[in-house]
């Protein structure tokens, strides 16, 4: 096997669709290229991707606001993707301007985009890192500057663990983050699941195979495992649309079509 040379700028790839840019597109954004849009269209044929994205994003906002209400003033957003509608720092700083956010993503363009957006914001920054290496993030100079790990932290792992295969032991990775969190910290997570629409999600998995991030939807029990060591707040692990909706009427008749489980847990 020929070795890959270290100095090839990896990650700067516009030929292969990126899940972050697909996400942006289905949310109605323009931060994407033709390949992303083409993949998004294929995804839309398999699953109700626009609703899934919308409901997931809405969950993120509610989760962040819940955490701010619970006293959290600093956030670590893993797999933040490209700055699209309703960014975490906008939501959090909208509630309390002193909130600090550190965004983390592995994809070079997403990170560059966030750098452009966050220029001039002293309370938010972004680093390029692999979330499978917790130490590389938690011990980075930016984390040391932006976050105080002795204080409660809001850890956001929203719509990202579904891109980490079993072979990388995502639960082990989560435990390593958990063990560095101060008591009183929170974890918010959402994750693809095949439980609601198995055939459709299977077709979606096929589409994701053609992108930079193949997807690995997981069942309810597997997603619950990520919360080992955390106490789930009400209503526990449910579909995104069901997690503390603004009003019951929003939930609708077919919550399973949101195709992602969501929950918030507290580290005691």
């Amino acid at each position: 096997m020929q070795e890959k040379l270290a100095w090839v700028p990896d990650g700067v790839n516009v030929d292969v669709p990126s899940s972050a840019r697909i996400y942006d597109y289905v949310l109605g954004g323009g931060h994407n290229f033709a390949t992303d849009r083409e993949a998004a269209e294929r995804l839309l044929k398999a699953v109700p991707a626009r609703d899934m994205a919308r409901l997931n994003r809405a969950f993120l906002r509610r989760a962040v606001l819940f955490m701010v209400d619970s006293g959290i003033r600093q956030f670590l957003d893993l797999g933040s993707g490209i700055p699209t509608v309703g960014n975490v720092h906008e939501v959090a700083q909208g509630a309390d301007p002193s909130c600090r956010v550190l965004y983390v993503d592995i994809e070079a363009i997403a990170v560059a985009h966030s750098q452009l957006l966050l220029a001039g914001n002293d309370n938010a920054s972004v680093i390029r890192a692999d979330l499978r290496e917790p130490e590389s993030i938690l011990d980075s100079p930016e984390a040391q500057q932006m976050l105080d790990l002795d204080q409660p932290l809001g850890l956001l792992v929203v719509g990202v663990m579904q891109f980490v295969p079993d072979s990388d032991d995502p639960w082990g990775v989560m435990a390593r983050y958990r063990d560095r969190l101060a008591p009183g910290s929170y974890l918010a997570m959402s994750h693809f699941t095949p439980d609601g629409m198995p055939e459709a999600m299977a077709r979606a998995v096929e589409v994701f195979k053609t992108t930079q991030e193949p997807a690995y939807p997981r069942a309810h029990s597997e997603v619950t495992r990520f919360f080992d060591g955390f106490e789930l707040v009400d209503p526990g692990l449910v579909y995104t649309v069901q997690w503390r909706p603004e009003s019951p009427s929003e939930v609708g008749d077919e919550p399973h079509r949101s195709n992602l489980y969501a929950a918030v847990g507290r580290r005691s």
């Binding site: 700028p9 990650g11 949310l27 109605g28 954004g29 323009g30 931060h31 990170v111 560059a112 985009h113």
Partner: protein
Amino acid sequence: MPETGRAELARQWAGALSRTAYVPLSRGDIEAMLGGLLDGLFDALLAAEFSAGAGTEAGRRLVAAHFTGEQSLSRTVEVLGVALPASPELRGVDGLAGKVVSLLGELASGYANALRVRTLDQQETVKLALLKASENARKRLEASEVNFRELFASSAVGIAISDLDGKLLEANETLGDIVGRPAAELVGQYVHELFHPEDTATFVAAYQGLLSGRNPRLRLDRQLRLLGKDGEPVWAYLAVSLLHDLAGRPTRQVTVVEDVTELHLLGDRLSHQSLHDALTGLPNQQFFVSTLESVVGRDSPSSVKLFKLDLDGFAVVNDGLGRRVGDQLLRSVAARLLSVVAGEKATVARFGADEFAILVEDSPTSPDVATLAERINTELAEPVYIDGNGMAVSACIGVVEHRGGVTDPAELLRAAETTLRRVKSGGTRQWGLFDPHRDVAERARRRLAATMPSAWENGEVGLEYQPLARLADGEIVGVEALLRWDHPERGPIPHRECLSLAEETGLVLPLGDWMLCKACEQLSALGWAVPVLHVNLTAQQSNDPDLVSCVRRALRKSGSDAARLLVGMPATALASDVGDAEDNVRALGDLGVAIALLEYGGAEDLARLEDPAVRTVRVAHGLVDRVALASPDDSLVAAAVPGLLAPVRARGITVIAADLRTRAQAAWWHAAGADVGQGRYLAPPGPLTPPRRKQSS
């Protein structure tokens, strides 16, 4: 109420929009926002002068608020298109339908334009992001390049980067130092040209191996030589690898060169040291043996001579003149041995202390063994002057010849060794050739001696007794305890040989101890029916410091009277200043044990008779044999015997003559002066029985 109507419409509109797009606002905020838009729209519809600008504004603000889902616009138009014309508030408006259409048209248009601008902005942003990402990557690459340059320049190992043909594109300074030329000069040369011609092929082969693709890099486990300054070889460890382009195709070769010349030389020296004697510089035993192995290990017809030398009396030089002188002497010996075999294909080695060995591979002109042996001692006999003292040494030499064919080198060495030992016992400056027959016999004897201790433990070695009688009247005056080994293969081995075998291993001491005890026991069991037990000791036994306690023990255990025991010691043992024989004699005498002088037959032996403890002598068996062989009238010895025995008799010392075979012999010895006889004429050795009292004469 107008407010209620608008609020209700705002709610309806919000509801319709909620599923179309994600907007990061609470429902309440959304309703409030849409309420604001509605106010604008209503105002426009209610205004005296109609302007559709509020519609454009509403469309623009919808986009700004992220209501940009696929369905957002159409749902908006649906909701407003139905609700506005039917609104109670607007009932009185002139041309309402037309105005609504116009307004919604402007809304759509404002929406579309805002969307277009927004999309273009976002595309621009994402392109900027792309540029920035590339910029980030380039910066990383630059930093990496800088690191590489630093590593390249400052590395303690030589690095060469060449194209796939081996033409040098870059060389670092260290490489230049290694080959003794400025690095810049090397560019354009071929890498393999840097190597010693004998090693070029290995180097090229290594690269071929790389290109064939299994490993991206190779570390050579052998050291190769480069050509250094002035063509001197530079030993180096090499690692070679390939660099690839983005597509994974090899484009460059990298050769990393570690100068290990010093290490190599050290290794050579170490290896030399481990094979050579430090003092003389000659090959050591290990090296010699492996040379021997290679010479006789091959099946060749050529013959070899193996000499094993021992310097005579070297310990005297070392102890007498000091180590330093001894060392110098050894060095001169080494030089001389080398000169002896200078013209031959030979190896001279020092085995240690004062032992040397020489291996000569015979050529048609090689001298024979005798000539070489003589030459060796002639050379050594030349005095060497150290500190003004001239000294010379001589050597004993054991030689073995091997006339071709494969043989075991260890066997050859052993043969030379045993020959050396044999000739050494003959004195100084002796040499001898290996005698295979003798060797066979010697080996058999050694085997016998080696197995004797266990044979004794197994009870194969036993005691027998031979009586002694007074020659005058045949009265039995004693028995001698004798050893007898009933060997399963060789048959019975008699006393003298048993003793001699036992002496070789030191078994003689415990054996003697056992013999004393056992004999006393057996005699005691028979009630001491004979007056005296004769136990004749060897020189070793006589000198044993534990002898007296052995004797005491034997007497005590058997409850015997000391006067019943007669211990014989050879005259030579008593003559020597070394050993405890003399002390033992005195101590035994004090115990009351009688002492006999064995092998009495020479003038010096007379001196021993001065010792008051010695009351008995046994005539040397050699003398008895000689007399037996000679014709009594002619033999000088026979004539001398009476004279020899007279003074002894005069002192009242008992004379025993043993190994008498015939009555005639016994009679002769009686006449010559012996008192007591022992031998076959009387009885052969055998088990202890109550003796016959008298022999009829």
